[in-house]
């Protein structure tokens, strides 16, 4: 059995990047997201969208790694948004308080507008 996470990157413009996940966000999945996110941060892309449409389950180890990513994004003055979460994943993020420091959107378009500063 393998639930290996796939992460694909899209850079619609020079200001934001979208990381689309497909699979289970556990320790290895979280580390793959972090690896790609830190590369983007190192290149100066500090506004990131995590699109979890194809992720149906997460665990707290994976989310803890996302908190590390959030910390580094905030340290660089950036923004982190999530979109297309399942109701349970969104509820879990709310339980953990992630929504206090990152924004959660139903649709990627709204998330991108917030990341670009076009909407609050």
């Amino acid at each position: 059995m393998s639930e290996t996470l796939k992460v694909t990157l899209e850079k619609p413009d020079g200001t934001v990047a979208i990381l689309r996940t497909d699979g289970y966000i556990n320790n290895t999945g979280g580390e793959e997201i972090a690896r790609q996110a830190y590369t983007l941060l190192g290149e100066g892309t500090i506004r990131l969208l995590l699109d979890l449409e194809k992720t149906k389950i997460v665990n707290s180890i994976g989310i803890s790694i996302l908190i590390e990513v959030l910390e580094k994004v905030l340290d660089q003055g950036g923004r982190l948004a999530f979109c297309r979460l399942t109701p349970t994943i969104e509820k879990t993020f709310q339980i953990m308080g992630l929504a206090q420091y990152a924004r959660i959107f139903p649709a990627p378009e709204d998330a991108l507008a917030w990341l670009r500063g076009e909407a609050e």
């Binding site: 059995m1 389950i57 665990n59 908190i67 959030l70 349970t88 509820k91 339980i95 953990m96 420091y101």
Partner: protein, 147 residues
């Protein structure tokens, strides 16, 4: 499902990567059978994942196994008569004192080197009833979700 219906499934999983996902399949099967609802099934699956990885990482179970019991039942009419899905997660490890587990806060975690420790918070928030029995011979977490 009639009020007389009960079902119980036992599963033993090894302490190994992603074995917690095998456990969630039982939640889906029993949850669908009792018409629990998609979001509630997902919440139970998440809680089971957390209970399993807590046991994997912290119990020190000498047999490297975690036992799960999945139970569909109905409360007695005098207690509300509600149908429920209950999951027991057991290990033979060294136990712990739940009262000594710190409650995590996101603001502190963002600045701390150790960002983990969310499992029990998630389990208690997603399930309707949670009971933890722990001692020198192991730990049993009993989690219930009502339909």
């Amino acid at each position: 499902m009639s009020t007389a219906d009960t079902r119980e499934v036992h599963l033993t999983i090894p302490v190994a990567p992603e074995m917690e996902i095998a456990a969630t399949a039982q939640v889906a099967a029993l949850g669908e059978w009792m018409e629990l609802g998609r979001d509630k099934i997902d919440e139970v699956k998440m809680a089971v994942v957390e209970a399993c990885i807590n046991a994997f990482e912290h119990s020190g179970t000498p047999d490297h196994r975690v036992e799960l019991r999945f139970r569909v039942g109905t409360e007695r009419p005098g207690n509300g008569g509600r149908a429920y899905l209950e999951v027991d997660v057991l290990d033979n490890g060294h136990g712990f004192d739940p009262a000594c587990v710190a409650s995590p806060e996101i603001g502190k975690k963002l600045r701390a080197p150790h960002k983990r420790g969310w499992g029990l918070r998630i389990i208690r928030s997603l399930m309707d009833d949670v009971r933890i029995e722990s001692g020198e011979r192991g730990t049993m977490i009993v989690m219930r979700k009502y339909r």
